[in-house]
Symmetry: none
Subunit: 403 residues, 2 copies
């Protein structure tokens, strides 16, 4: 499916509306043998009703056994084979804050850090300075100029920033400068190919000037750069699927990956599920496809906060009637991967998935939305890249293949 | 997945221990409609407990509908796509008895047979002579010399032997000399490519000398050669998965295929499950991964002995506490293929599979280890090649893919 040949050929126009509601890191584990997962323990009457009326399954984000990062996991949900389309972290980060990365540009993700008098890192996140503290620091970097190239920096949040270098002859095969530990200095930008030497040299020049500019900062007096990468030139949603697609997400990375696939990333107030659903309501007539992203299920999972993750899931369920009132033709509710609170990290487990489409869904035997139910659902266990084609089909947006 | 690129990139070190327990030909069928399979009928309290605590699924060894041979079925369990990695029977047989096949060597599997005065085969297995009878016959062959090449022969068991020819300019694209029936003479070794003509010619010279040497034997007075093949140069376990892997198997072919993938094949006394588990206990600190092979489930299936197959499964279950006492982090119990006693042969049915990993497994709704339960398990139905990546994941030996 990597080249989307059939999607491009078979998609057809329609007035139907589709919603892909992603609760990041949705899949979980019981805290004790025999117990319920976060999703199973959550009181979610609306989703349970959709599960009864719709059909369930489990998605495999990348391959069985692979623990996905958020970027590749979202590409999969958008129908892109994440082992084929490799998007660098720098590009995701820059796109997420609205800094465009074009062909030939090199993007990196920056972290402010603290170094001691010997230049050795004492804090890899500069004391986790706030966005308010970081902004004037970043402004000091914006005065730096280099010969023959331009450099754009933008704050992502707190100690994180995006950096994009633009100019001739730049390639991005460059190692991270983050040594991943304290007590040692940041590494130089090291090219892994002769084509990337010019860019690496320019990044090292930039780092030198940046360190000079920040030398009196108490916390953010140095930086590491990671995920050097360039425009992946991804096939675009409107071409592949014939869709006007809106991204409704709070966190930069998800906005970034949505932009890269050709969705229109929306600005809105608030960061709760009801704010996101209200944004969908406002835009309802202008788009065919709505990607709505809930971040905090993953954050709570990463924190090992089982009950906190349940609370987030329940808050989504509580707000759901607002979304359902829009009468979407197809609604998929899933995660990009599992983040069991018990593991405090992303995991390789399959992801519970609910597909609801009142006109065309084939009901299965399951009546609740949860991991055990999804393992017995009518959609079975399937690659996450197949979800979007199934949504299109249920929206009557894919023509018959063959006569 | 055929090239293992991602496994090589993502595997990481850990101290976790994994056991792959293969009951050969495990999958079965009821003898009568509505009845239980061998595995379902077996009293296996230990495996049932593991099924309750763990998760179940069904593996497809090659492709749906394909009945696997033992070699390809094991390659699949080791994570190698058996349609991509083609290992000849001759190489498997030679490797299984410790005769190494290097690049440029040509191996074949030999069967002693009986021919009449006209050279026509009267018994394709030389009256199934015992290993004791066959040994002096084989010794007569070991005196044969050919110009420019060396030939090594070794008894496998009973009427079967391995043969490896070493020298310059040898290729293995040669047809079997076994006509697969009696009443006709053995076929000559026939090259299918010009590059294989030299080897075919040398094999025919060897056959002529061998027939001359055995002309007075009452039973084993001739031979057929099958599975001409050379070193498949398989990627090696330590490189792909970063594992020190031990093979604990009684039968030569399984030892052979394990050797070919870079496992360390163990010598041990006894041939019962408890002997194999005791061997694992002795080696526990020296390896990361233990492949333990139980042959007789398949043998009983091939004999059509339904109750005998149950007995073997129960004997494994009875010995299992010895293995569990080692506290493996991940235990997979499966077969390489199905061998239903009702069919008296390997079959194309999916294979019941149990995955147990106390720290990370996601429980499903199933409480017993059996075919029907596995079809409803949380792992769903999946390619056998995905089992090893899942075992690695549950052992925390695969890094996250992408950020």
């Amino acid at each position: 499916m990597a080249d989307f040949k059939w999607m491009k050929e078979l998609h057809q126009k329609n007035n139907t509306k589709m919603v892909l509601l992603v609760m990041d890191g949705l899949g979980g584990l019981p805290m004790k043998p025999g117990g319920e997962t976060e999703l199973e323990a959550a009181k979610i009457p609306n989703m349970d009703r959709l599960a009864k009326e719709g059909t369930l399954g489990q998605t495999i984000p990348i391959r069985r056994g692979f623990t996905p990062g958020s970027g590749p996991a979202h590409l999969a949900l958008f129908g892109y084979d994440p082992l084929h389309y490799d998007v660098g972290r720098g590009v995701l980060e820059a796109s997420g804050v609205g800094v465009h990365v074009n062909k030939g540009d090199v993007a990196a993700r920056g972290n402010f850090c603290t170094v001691d008098a010997d230049g050795k890192i004492t804090d890899r996140r500069a004391g986790r300075i706030s966005s308010e503290e970081a902004m004037p620091v970043l402004e000091k970097l914006q005065g730096i100029t280099l010969p023959g190239v331009s450099v754009e920096t933008r704050l992502v949040r707190e100690y994180r920033f995006a950096l994009v270098m633009r100019g001739e002859g730049l390639e991005s095969d460059i190692d991270d400068t983050d040594p991943q530990k304290t007590g040692v200095p940041p590494l130089p930008a090291q090219a892994n190919s002769s084509g990337s030497e010019r860019a690496a040299d320019l990044f090292n020049q930039w780092i030198k000037l940046a360190r000079e500019a920040l030398k009196d900062e108490p916390k953010a007096n140095a930086m590491t750069l990671r995920g050097f990468s360039t425009d992946p030139a991804l096939p675009q949603f409107p071409d592949i699927y014939g869709l006007r697609a809106a991204c409704i997400a709070v966190y930069p990375m998800y906005r970034g990956v949505s932009h890269l696939v050709g969705m229109e990333v929306q600005q809105f107030e608030g960061e709760h599920p009801e704010d996101e659903f209200a944004t969908a309501a406002k835009l309802w007539d202008d788009f065919d496809f709505f990607f709505i992203h809930i971040k905090k299920t993953d954050s709570k999972g990463e924190d090992g906060n089982f009950d906190g993750k349940i609370d987030i899931i329940e808050s989504v369920d509580k707000a759901l009637p607002e979304l359902l009132a829009l009468k979407p033709d197809v609604l998929a509710i899933t995660g990009d991967h599992s983040t069991p609170a018990r593991m405090k990290s992303h995991s390789f487990h399959p992801v519970p998935t609910l597909l609801w489409a009142p006109e065309t869904v084939r009901e299965d035997t399951q009546n609740r939305f949860g991991e055990r139910a999804c393992a017995l659902g009518g959609l079975s266990t399937f690659p996450a890249t197949d979800l979007l084609p199934m949504m299109l089909a249920h929206a009557n947006r894919l023509a018959k293949y063959g006569a």
